[in-house]
C-alpha cells in the first residue's frame, strides 16, 4: 500500500509543474493589463505606466517572471494581490471555508440523492421511475446555473418567502469567525436562531451547486449498476437462489461503486467551476467569486496562485479517490 501511495504521489510532481505553467500563462494570455484597467477612462501617461509596470515587476521578460513566481512559490510565498495588496494565501484562507462548506453540502446532497436514484433506476430499468428520473437528470445536467439560481431565488425567496435571498447568515447575528464554517461558528456563538439561519441560507445555493453533480452521479450510478448486473457472477448469484437484496446490495453495488466514486471525485472540479457562478448569484463570500473579481481586474498574483491552490486541491481529492479504489478493490493496489 505504501508503494502504491508513493507511486501516486510521484505522478503529482510533473502534474503540479504543468499546472504552475498553465496558471501563470492563463492570465497573461488574456488581453489587457492591470495598470490600464486601474486607470480606467482617465488614462495613464506612458511614463507612469512604465513606472507602475516596473514596480509590479511586469517589465521583466515573461520567462524570468515565471521563475520568480516559481522560486517564491517554493518558499511558500504566493504573492500579494495587486488590488488589496494583501497576501494571496491570507485571502484564500479567509474565503476558502465558505466554499468548502457550500461544496460539501452540495456533494452530500448530490450523493445522497444521486446514488439511490441511480440504483433504483437501474433495478427498475424501463419503468416510469427510470424514465422520469433520467430525463430529469438530463435536464439538470444541461441547466444554466445562473438562470437556475435566479429562478429559485425569485420563486422560493421572492414569491414564497421560504428562504433568504442571499448571504451566509441573517445580518442580525454577529459573531467572530472561529473556524470560518458558518454552521459550526453559529453553533459555537450560542446565539439562539443563528444555526437555523445559517442552514436556511445554505439551502438554495447548495441545491443549485448540487444540480449538475447530482445529475451526473445519478446517470453514472445507473449505467454502472446495469453493467455490473449483466456480469456472470451476478447471474450466478441469482441462479443459486440468493435473495435479490443481497445480490444487488453486496455483489452488484460494491463493484458498481468504483466508477461512481471516480465520478464523485471528478465532480470536485465541476463543483469549483459551479461555485464561481453560484457564489456570484448568492453573494457567497467564497473563492469562486474572488477568482471572478480578480480575473476581471487582471489581478495576476491572485489569479495564478488562486488557480494553483484550486488545482492543488482537485489533485488532492483525486489522489484520495485513487487511494479509495485501493481500499475497495485490492487488485488495484497490488498491480
Amino acid at each position: 500500500m505504501v508503494r502504491f501511495i508513493l507511486s501516486k504521489l510521484l505522478y503529482l510532481v510533473p502534474t503540479f509543474l504543468g499546472i504552475t505553467i498553465i496558471a501563470f500563462s492563463f492570465v497573461r494570455i488574456l488581453p489587457g493589463d492591470p495598470v490600464l484597467l486601474m486607470a480606467g477612462e482617465r488614462g495613464v501617461t506612458p511614463e507612469r505606466h512604465a513606472e507602475l509596470t516596473a514596480q509590479l515587476g511586469y517589465d521583466k521578460h515573461v520567462v524570468l517572471q515565471y521563475f520568480d513566481f516559481l522560486g517564491r512559490l517554493l518558499q511558500g510565498d504566493l504573492g500579494n494581490s495587486l488590488v488589496t495588496k494583501k497576501p494571496v494565501l491570507t485571502e484564500f484562507l479567509a474565503l476558502f471555508p465558505a466554499t468548502v462548506e457550500l461544496g460539501l453540502c452540495a456533494i452530500i446532497i448530490a450523493t445522497v440523492i444521486g446514488v439511490p436514484v441511480g440504483v433504483l433506476a437501474a433495478i427498475k430499468r424501463g419503468s416510469w421511475f427510470d424514465q422520469v428520473s433520467m430525463t430529469t437528470a438530463l435536464v439538470g445536467f444541461s441547466m444554466p446555473i445562473f438562470w437556475w439560481g435566479l429562478l429559485l431565488i425569485i420563486f422560493f425567496s421572492g414569491i414564497l418567502g421560504w428562504t433568504p435571498v442571499s448571504g451566509r447568515i441573517s445580518l442580525m447575528y454577529f459573531f467572530p469567525d472561529v473556524t470560518g464554517f458558518m454552521l459550526i461558528d453559529s453553533l459555537i456563538s450560542g446565539q439562539s436562531g443563528a444555526f437555523r439561519s445559517a442552514i436556511s441560507h445554505l439551502i438554495l445555493p447548495s441545491v443549485v451547486l448540487a444540480t449538475i453533480p447530482l445529475a451526473v452521479i445519478a446517470r453514472q450510478t445507473r449505467s454502472a449498476m446495469l453493467e455490473v448486473m449483466g456480469e456472470d457472477y451476478v447471474r450466478t448469484a441469482r441462479a443459486k437462489g440468493m435473495p435479490a437484496s443481497r445480490v444487488i446490495g453486496i455483489h452488484a453495488l460494491r463493484n458498481a461503486m468504483i466508477p461512481v466514486i471516480t465520478t464523485i471525485g471528478l465532480q470536485i472540479g465541476v463543483l469549483m467551476a459551479g461555485a464561481i457562478l453560484t457564489e456570484t448569484i448568492f453573494s457567497w463570500p467564497g473563492i469562486g467569486k474572488w477568482m471572478i473579481d480578480s480575473i476581471s481586474r487582471r489581478d495576476y498574483p491572485v489569479v495564478q496562485s488562486g488557480l494553483l491552490l484550486i488545482a492543488g486541491l482537485v489533485m488532492l481529492v483525486n489522489l484520495l479517490v485513487d487511494l479509495t479504489y485501493g481500499l475497495i478493490n485490492p487488485r488495484i493496489r497490488n498491480k
Binding site: A39, G40, N80, P164, M172
Partner: protein, 532 residues
C-alpha cells in the same frame, strides 16, 4: 443553580430586545471595497465604504450638490494671486476609538499635514506603508505638480502654497482621496508594527465608526456618537455586498436590505409599480459620447463631423439603449453642472441635409469604423447596440460603418493611440463637479497626447485657452462665462457626437426617508432614517 438557564435565556431575550430597538440600516452594496484607506484607491464602491462613512475632508460637497462647503476646515482664505490657501480647522473634532486605539487628542493640523504628505512625498515613512501601494487619484489630479508646500501655522491653521493658481483646488480636496486620517493612529500602528491596519481597521472623524469587515460579505459600522456634524439617525449601518443587480432587487423586495445602487434598466418599471418600494432618480453627472479622430481625413473637417452628427437619430438611441432613462446630450458637460450652456441648440436630426453637406464637402462612399466598448458603464448601458443604431442611421446617408471592439483594458489603450482608425464610443463620470474635470480632461490640447483622455485628439487653441483662463480665475461668474463660450466652440467644431447623460436610479424600501442622492454618485447614510 437550576435557575441559571432561565436567567441566561432571560438575558438573551433582553439583549435581543435591545438589538431589535437599535435601528439598523442595511445597504446592498454592489462591490467589495479594495481597502479602507481611501487614498490609494479609485473605485466608487471603495469610497462608499471608507471615505464617506468613516472619514471627513477639509472641504466637503454639500449634500446633494457639487457645491463645496466647510468640512474639517471651518473657513479659509485665498491669497490675491490664488497661490496661498489658509485653512482654519474645526476645533473639538474627536477621532473614533476602537479596541486597539484610544485617541489622546482631537483632530488638528498635524493630521492634515500627515494625510497629504504621505501621498505626495515619496520619502515619507508612510508613503509605501504597504508594499506596492500608489496614490493614483492624488497623482492624476496633478497634486504633486500643484502643491508646492504645506505648512502648519499653528495647531488649527494650515497653509497650502500652490505652484500655479488652480480654481478647482477647493473641489479637488473635497474628493475622497483627500480624506484626513489620524496621525496619532498611524504612530500607534507604527509602534505596534501593524501599519497595514490603517487600511484594514480605519479610524476617522466621520459619522460612522468602522466595526468589522468580513471579506466579500458584510461591512458593519456603528453611529459615531461624538460626530461633529448632525448626528446620524440610525444606530448601525451594514453593507451587505451583493454584486448581482437582480439579486439585489430580490433582497430589497424581501426586506433583507433597505436600499440598493444600480438597478438593471429593465427593472425600473417594475420597481415603480411596487408599492413597498420607492425610486429616487436624478440626472447623472456623466456624458456618453462618440469621439471622431479629428486628425484623420475626412474627420479633420468639422463640416464632415457635423454632417455625421446630423445623420444619427439621438432620440432613438436614448429610447432603445437607455430605455428612456437618459437625457439626449447637446453639450459635453451634463445639465446639472454649473456653467452648462443651455442656450446652445443641438444639431437637428436631418439625414437629407446631412447627405447634402457631405456631398458639398466632396465626401462620397465614406466608410468608417465605430468602436463599441465591451463593458457596461453608468454612462453607456450597451455600446454595441448604440453602435448598431448609428450604423443603420449612417447607412441611410451612404456611409458604411464597421463595428469593432476590444477587451476593456485594450480598448482604453488602443483608443488613445495616435492614428487610430475610427470613432470611439466612450464616456465620463465627474469626480468633483467642476466643469474643468470634464472639459480639460477630455477635450483640451494637453490631454490630446499620449496618456491623456482626449480621444478625439482634438486640439483647438481657442478652446484650450478659455479653459486655461478659467482655471486661474477665482470668480465663479467669470469662470461660468468662459466655460459657456467654450461650449459654443465645442458645438461648432463637433469633435464628438454627444450621446446622452444617463439618469441614475436608487430604489429603496418605502420605509426609508432622508436619503439624498449625490450627483457625484456617492452613497452616504448619515441623514437616512427608517420608519418602524
Amino acid at each position: 443553580m437550576k435557575h441559571l438557564p432561565v436567567l441566561a435565556s432571560a438575558l438573551t431575550m433582553a439583549l435581543a430586545a435591545q438589538v431589535a430597538e437599535a435601528k439598523t440600516f442595511v445597504y446592498c452594496s454592489e462591490a467589495s471595497p479594495e481597502g479602507f484607506d481611501p487614498s490609494p484607491y479609485t473605485a466608487g464602491g471603495t469610497f462608499d465604504a471608507s471615505a464617506h462613512p468613516v472619514y471627513n475632508r477639509l472641504t466637503e460637497f454639500k449634500k446633494g450638490t457639487t457645491e463645496v462647503e466647510p468640512g474639517l476646515a471651518e473657513s479659509w482664505e485665498v491669497s490675491e494671486d490664488g497661490l496661498e490657501y489658509t485653512f482654519h480647522l474645526r476645533k473639538g473634532v474627536k477621532w473614533h476609538s476602537s479596541d486597539k486605539f484610544t485617541p489622546s487628542r482631537e483632530f488638528n493640523a498635524d493630521d492634515v499635514i500627515f494625510s497629504f504628505e504621505r501621498q505626495g512625498k515619496a520619502d515619507h515613512p508612510w508613503h509605501q506603508y504597504i508594499a506596492g501601494i500608489t496614490y493614483e487619484y492624488y497623482t492624476s489630479m496633478a497634486m504633486p505638480e500643484l502643491i508646492k508646500s504645506i505648512e502648519k501655522v499653528d495647531d488649527y491653521t494650515v497653509k497650502f502654497t500652490l505652484n500655479t493658481p488652480e480654481a478647482p483646488f477647493l473641489a479637488n480636496i473635497a474628493m475622497p482621496f483627500a480624506s484626513i486620517v489620524s496621525k496619532e493612529y498611524a504612530d500607534t500602528l507604527d509602534a505596534a508594527g501593524t501599519k497595514e491596519d490603517l487600511n484594514n481597521a480605519p479610524i476617522g472623524t466621520g459619522p460612522f465608526k468602522f466595526v468589522a469587515y468580513q471579506k466579500d460579505a458584510v461591512i458593519r459600522y456603528q453611529k459615531n456618537p461624538d460626530y461633529w456634524g448632525p448626528a446620524p439617525l440610525i444606530d448601525d449601518l451594514v453593507f451587505a455586498i451583493t454584486p448581482d443587480a437582480a439579486v439585489r432587487l430580490q433582497k430589497l423586495k424581501a426586506g433583507e436590505c433597505h436600499l440598493m445602487p444600480y438597478p438593471a434598466p429593465a427593472d425600473i418599471e417594475a420597481i415603480k409599480a411596487d408599492s413597498n418600494l420607492k425610486l429616487d432618480e436624478q440626472a447623472g453627472l456623466n456624458v456618453g459620447y462618440l469621439a471622431y479622430n479629428t486628425t484623420m481625413a475626412p474627420f479633420d473637417n468639422p463640416k464632415v463631423r457635423k454632417a455625421l452628427n446630423m445623420a444619427i437619430n439621438k432620440q432613438a438611441i436614448v429610447d432603445a439603449v437607455f430605455q428612456g432613462a437618459a437625457e439626449p446630450a447637446k453639450n459635453p458637460i451634463p445639465p446639472t453642472m454649473w456653467s452648462y450652456n443651455d442656450a446652445i441648440q443641438d444639431d437637428p436630426y436631418d439625414p437629407e441635409a446631412a447627405k447634402k453637406m457631405l456631398e458639398e464637402e466632396g465626401v462620397t462612399d465614406l466608410s468608417m469604423k465605430i468602436w463599441a466598448m465591451p463593458v457596461q458603464r453608468p454612462y453607456m448601458p450597451n455600446a454595441r447596440r448604440t453602435a448598431e443604431l448609428m450604423q443603420e442611421d449612417l447607412s441611410k446617408i451612404g456611409v458604411s460603418v464597421e463595428i469593432v471592439s476590444y477587451e476593456w483594458g485594450e480598448y482604453l489603450s488602443k483608443s488613445m493611440e495616435p492614428g487610430r482608425d475610427g470613432a470611439v464610443i466612450l464616456g465620463w463620470t465627474g469626480d468633483n463637479g467642476d466643469p474643468d474635470n470634464f472639459l480639460s480632461v477630455l477635450l483640451s490640447c494637453d490631454s490630446a497626447g499620449e496618456g491623456g483622455a482626449n480621444r478625439a485628439f482634438w486640439c483647438n487653441e481657442e478652446f484650450s485657452k478659455l479653459l486655461k483662463d478659467a482655471k486661474v480665475t477665482a470668480d465663479p461668474a467669470e469662470r461660468t462665462a468662459l466655460y459657456e463660450q467654450a461650449q459654443v466652440i465645442f458645438k461648432d467644431q463637433a469633435p464628438w457626437f454627444t450621446i446622452a447623460h444617463s439618469t441614475q436610479y436608487v430604489p429603496m424600501s418605502a420605509k426609508v426617508s432622508g436619503f439624498v442622492m449625490s450627483p457625484l454618485g456617492d452613497f452616504t447614510f448619515e441623514t437616512v432614517d427608517i420608519a418602524e
